[in-house]
Amino acid sequence: MWNYTDKVKEHFFNPKNSGVLDSANAVGEVGSITCGDALRLMLKVDPDTQIILDAKFQTFGCGSAIASSSALTEMIIGKTVDEALTLTNRDIAEYLGGLPPEKMHCSVMGAEALRAAIANYKGEAWEDDHEEGELVCKCFGVDAAMIERAVTVNGLTTLEEVTHYTKAGGSCQTCHEKIEEVLEEVLAKTGALKPAARHAPGTVGLDAIKPLEPKAEPAAAPKLTNVQRMQAIMSAIEEMRPQIQRDGGDVELVDIDGKDIYVRLSGACSGCSQSAGTMMGVQMKLVEKLGEFVRVKPASLMPAHAG
């Protein structure tokens, strides 16, 4: 059993400010049910004073995720938007008297939801974050920018810590090298990676090692035009269809709405208890093909005006 502090338990068993805030003028939603935790943070900000008058949350997640959300709302009520923006996940964890290392991602989720809510209040497009930073962990949808923030704020130095704080690399592990690259870049920038002043007897110093010839920078993937993007989505689905058809089902592209790709499953896939797995498989394929995070949803969830 996790060793939770009394403060974590207090906020889990008796969460503060849970529920829906009807008068909210700022909403931040982060996480996903696939990842195992998700948070909807609602704020009521006074437009004249910029003070957060009220905050409420709804959280899907474990004890520390619920406690982190509850603590976050307590911490930000009464602060101005700019003051709130200075809060980090470390502040949330410290407020709770600490979290187990493996649970630090819950505090990160809180801090990310706060940034998303304030971006929403200011009318900024939070989803653009993924375009700023390279998507590193496709399983959990974590980009380089989020890893950089977690490393910088928390002084992380290892891959394991990055996984504990962001979940990145916690599933298929194929992104471990990329995470290590991001980690090294940040550590080099912050000066945390310094050559040892002295080296052990019998070994050579870093200065004696000839660096490898620098590799040519890989060309950045060109941004797809809308037409190219649509074609890429269609061809990815076409590639998947034979496998799905072999199982007696089928998949059809219905619409593309920004990051949301609507598909219709039919045949044996329709109503199959494993259809969620099929949808997830299609989503993984599209994320891989497009190099951006997209969500695959059933056509039945299309907004009425779009359908």
């Binding site: 059993m1 996790w2 889990f12 068993f13 969460p15 849970s18 529920g19 939603e29 982060v30 996480g31 996903s32 049910i33 696939t34 990842c35 195992g36 935790d37 998700a38 948070l39 909807r40 709804q58 959280t59 899907f60 997640g61 474990c62 004890g63 995720a65 619920i66 187990p100 493996e102 649970k103 990310e112 998303a116 939070w126 989803e127 974050d129 959990f140 949808g141 996984t163 979940k167 916690g170 599933s171 990051k259 949301d260 199959c272 208890s273 494993q274 969620a276 797995g277 997830m280 995070f293 969500r295 949803k297 969830l301």
Partner: protein, 401 residues
Amino acid sequence: MSQGIYLDNNATTRVDPEVLQEMLPLFTEHFGNPSSMHGFGAAVGGKIEWARKQVQALLGAAHDSEIVFTSGGTESDNTAILSALEAYPKKREIVTSVVEHPGVLALCEYLEKKRGYTVHRIPVDNKGNLDMEAYRAALSDRVAIVSIMWANNETGTIFPVEELARMAKEVGAVFHTDAVQSVGKIPMKLADSAIDMLSLSGHKLHAPKGIGALYVKRGLRFRPMLRGGHQERSRRAGTENAPAIVGLGAAAQLALVHMGEENTRVKALRDRLEQAILAAVPSCFVTGNPDDRLPNTCNIAFEYIEGEAILLLLNEAGIAASSGSACTSGSLEPSHVMRAMGVPYTAAHGATRFSLSRDTTEEEIDRVIAVVPGIIAKLRSLSPYWQQEAGRPKEFAPVYS
């Protein structure tokens, strides 16, 4: 928690007081090393042989010499697989299922990645039943060993091991089953079966932790994993854990006595618990095969909430259960068993296992039935995926997934 309700018996069971009584003299009066050539040793050796006969009886094995004592289920699993691979070095394939215990899965992954073996992992359907066609297709004379569990630890779903073993024999493969969850709960007669090897673990049947056994059918080629002394007829070197072995023997004897109760009273309690929860809580379902399951196991997937949070609230109410949630283990992925069955993520994270034992009482089950609906409602009131007023799920799609 001393008066708590313990429904996590698939994780471990309470040592039966009668088992403990049998063990105690092994720490005091009968402390000798069974390999020693004097009376102190001989007394202990005799007790170990008594224990071996009890395990033989529980398994319905033809000979007591077919029982090798080990440290537990994981050692038995590892020994069985490695023994078969070493005994048949030209065969480079292994067949197993996607829902095995990590004691089998992790070893197979290691053998695949580091030793170049081909591993066939047989999928399951949405009730956790093995895909028999895929199994048939994976079998060939290249297969050294088939290792498939008797019953799943999370859902209790029972595999048709006898049939699987017969099919494996047709292609000349060794058949091993991890029966850690099923031994003591369902009747077995290995003497008449095609099963070559079987793993069991003491602490799942009211014996202590750190003791298990591997059944090895007489005549099967065997290669030990632990080499050293001549204990266990040179099949498992190392001084015997005599108190625990005697404990396992006593537990095996008691398991035979109580097996009828396990399949009637305990099963009825399990069914009552399950039906009451399903009736009182919306959006939840039983995972696994409801018609062919261990009598003590009930795994319910509660949608739109997360398992660790459920366990914390259950614990606060004095109830111990288990979850397939990632957060309980420090892993980031929900149970591989839930995922293999295609349980949607909306439910996999909230899968909760209640596993009963012969100690479980009617009053305890009544208490759990009374408490669970409130816990689920409380967590759903916090969940962004749940529409509290309407009592049903709602669409919630965070931008930053």
